[in-house]
């Protein structure tokens, strides 16, 4: 609107009225947004916010045999802090997930790069090929590794059959490495997509400019492509790291006693040990450990990015 029209609007009461109706409509439009989102919000609050709130409250209660003592206390947290094995288990879960995240992201980056820059005609085919495994049964994807790595599994029986070994290799299954391999495979598809999106968004003229300014392919990648794709790398890392810390299926199926993670302990607290408050406190502490580690990763990459500039 020109300034002449604006002053006319100020002067003319009818136009002013029109303006305020327009403003009301704008607010009304926002209101329509709220109305459309409200059923989803209701689900999020009712099925996530309230339950998680109750989880927090539960963690301050205590289990007295079959009764629950609802006096607020830090007893559960102190019990966990004083029990080295619990703290070590949380630490180990973080370490295993960090290893999984690193492996997944490093392996995913080249293929995301490939689809973003080298594939021109059948991008959609590649994208579908990498997303489909993500939607298929998690339980079955994990289970297939038990079949592969087991004492009488695919690898061992194949090695024996081919005469390479006499006895099955027992070290394949039931250890943290098996957990890392299985998780890295199960979460691989989810890491590719965010990296692909951030690479796809890079303005191609920047790359051209780098080439024109005399950068070779390696220098161009390190100075332009990689720094610009860091947001996708961080997103991928979070999407893999956060959920894997709490996984209990993989450790139970392929981890063995050494490969157990904090998810298994939480699970035990809610079923075998029947100590829900202690299990809740474990969940809260794990969530806290996840948050701290995620923030650390985020700050580190941000710092690295700023230095690269």
């Amino acid at each position: 609107m020109t300034s002449a029209a604006q002053s006319a609007a100020r002067a003319n009461p009818i136009l002013r009225l029109g303006k305020s109706v327009q403003g009301a409509l704008f607010r009304y439009a926002g209101l329509r947004g709220y109305i459309l989102f409200s059923p989803t919000l209701l689900v999020l609050v009712g099925a996530m916010c309230i339950p998680v709130g109750m989880l927090v409250i539960y963690s301050f209660w205590t289990q007295k045999y079959i009764e629950i003592d609802t006096t607020l206390t830090l007893a559960n947290y102190l019990q966990i802090f004083n029990k080295t094995s619990y703290m070590l288990l949380i630490g180990k879960s973080i370490l295993i997930s960090t290893a999984v995240t690193t492996a997944t992201v490093v392996l995913a980056y080249p293929i995301a790069y490939f689809i973003a820059f080298r594939v021109h005609q059948h991008k959609i085919v590649w994208l579908i090929l990498i997303t489909v495994p993500f939607w298929t049964s998690y339980l079955l994807r994990v289970f297939s590794w038990k079949v592969i790595l087991g004492y009488n599994g695919v690898i061992n029986s194949a090695l024996k059959w081919l005469g390479i070994v006499d006895q099955p290799l027992a070290f394949l299954l039931h250890n943290p490495t098996a957990v890392i391999i299985t998780l890295a495979h199960a979460w691989a598809p989810i890491a590719i997509l965010p990296i692909f999106v951030s690479l796809e968004k890079i303005d191609r003229s920047l790359l051209e400019a780098a080439t024109d300014l005399g950068d070779g392919p390696v220098a161009r990648f390190l100075r332009v492509t990689l720094p610009l794709s860091i947001p996708g790398v961080v997103a991928a890392s979070m999407l893999v790291f956060i959920p894997t810390v709490g996984d209990y299926i993989t450790p139970q199926l392929v981890g063995g006693p050494d490969g157990l993670m904090v998810g298994n302990l939480m699970h035990a607290m809610f079923f075998k040990a029947n100590n829900w408050p202690l299990g809740s406190a474990l969940a809260i502490l794990s969530a806290a450990a996840i948050t701290v580690t995620s923030l650390a990763i985020w700050f580190l990459t941000k710092h690295a990015r700023e230095r690269a500039k």
């Binding site: 999020l44 996530m48 939607w135 049964s137 790359l207 956060i242 199926l253 969940a283």
Partner: protein, 270 residues
Amino acid sequence: MNLLANLRRPDGLLGYSILYLIFLYVPVLFLPLFSFNDSIYITFPLSGFTTQWYEKMIESEVLLNALGNSVKVAACVSVISTILGTLAARAFTRYRFAGRKPMLGLLVLPLVVPGIILGIALLIMMNWAGIELSLVTIGAAHVLIATPFATFVMISRLEGFDANLEEASRDLGESGWTTFWRVTFPLAYPGIVASLLLTFTESFDEFILAFFLAGNEATLPLYIWSQLRFPKTLPVVLALGACILLASFIVITFAEWVRRRGVKPVESDS
């Protein structure tokens, strides 16, 4: 175009990507392979071809019952979450309102919070509210994780959608209702189909939340989990797994194809 020709230089990336796809797909293919093997042990060499595990599978009443439960839950979840997701996506793509960003953040949470924490929290709430665990509680938990997926699928469909088309329809004298049926719905339709299929599969395959929220009735993943301990029934589980993988694969490929077809890439090659 020069630059693109430049990037098309042959190198190891294509080979790597093919190896990666093999890594992604081959482990899972052992399930169907051994489901036709005539031995209860999952070992090489293969001892012979049989379809007996598939025959045993369709004879098992417990299994068929679990299958029925899973289909019921997944059907309800896919319809509910797609409706919620479509409304929410419309809110995010069409209207600007205060708190839009934090709401989107809240919507991502069910996807990233570890499943076990959501499962525990929901179990505590159901227990506190005195709600008996059943297929309904499993369904409620699945709606929580399926709705964000449905919303993001619908957002990616509606994002490029030009609001002018609706306005044009109004200007040409159509009512709000006919505009919806003749303009909005046909444009959103592929997204809705994809969302229904994807959320169905997600609920059908979900195990962690179902494990915490199950009553007496089991869904198919819970049935599979209960059978993993018994070596004798393992081949039947393999046969079942092979069927689930094949069905998921077909449904999802179709859904992704419907969803991505017609949606323009983030950036054109120009």
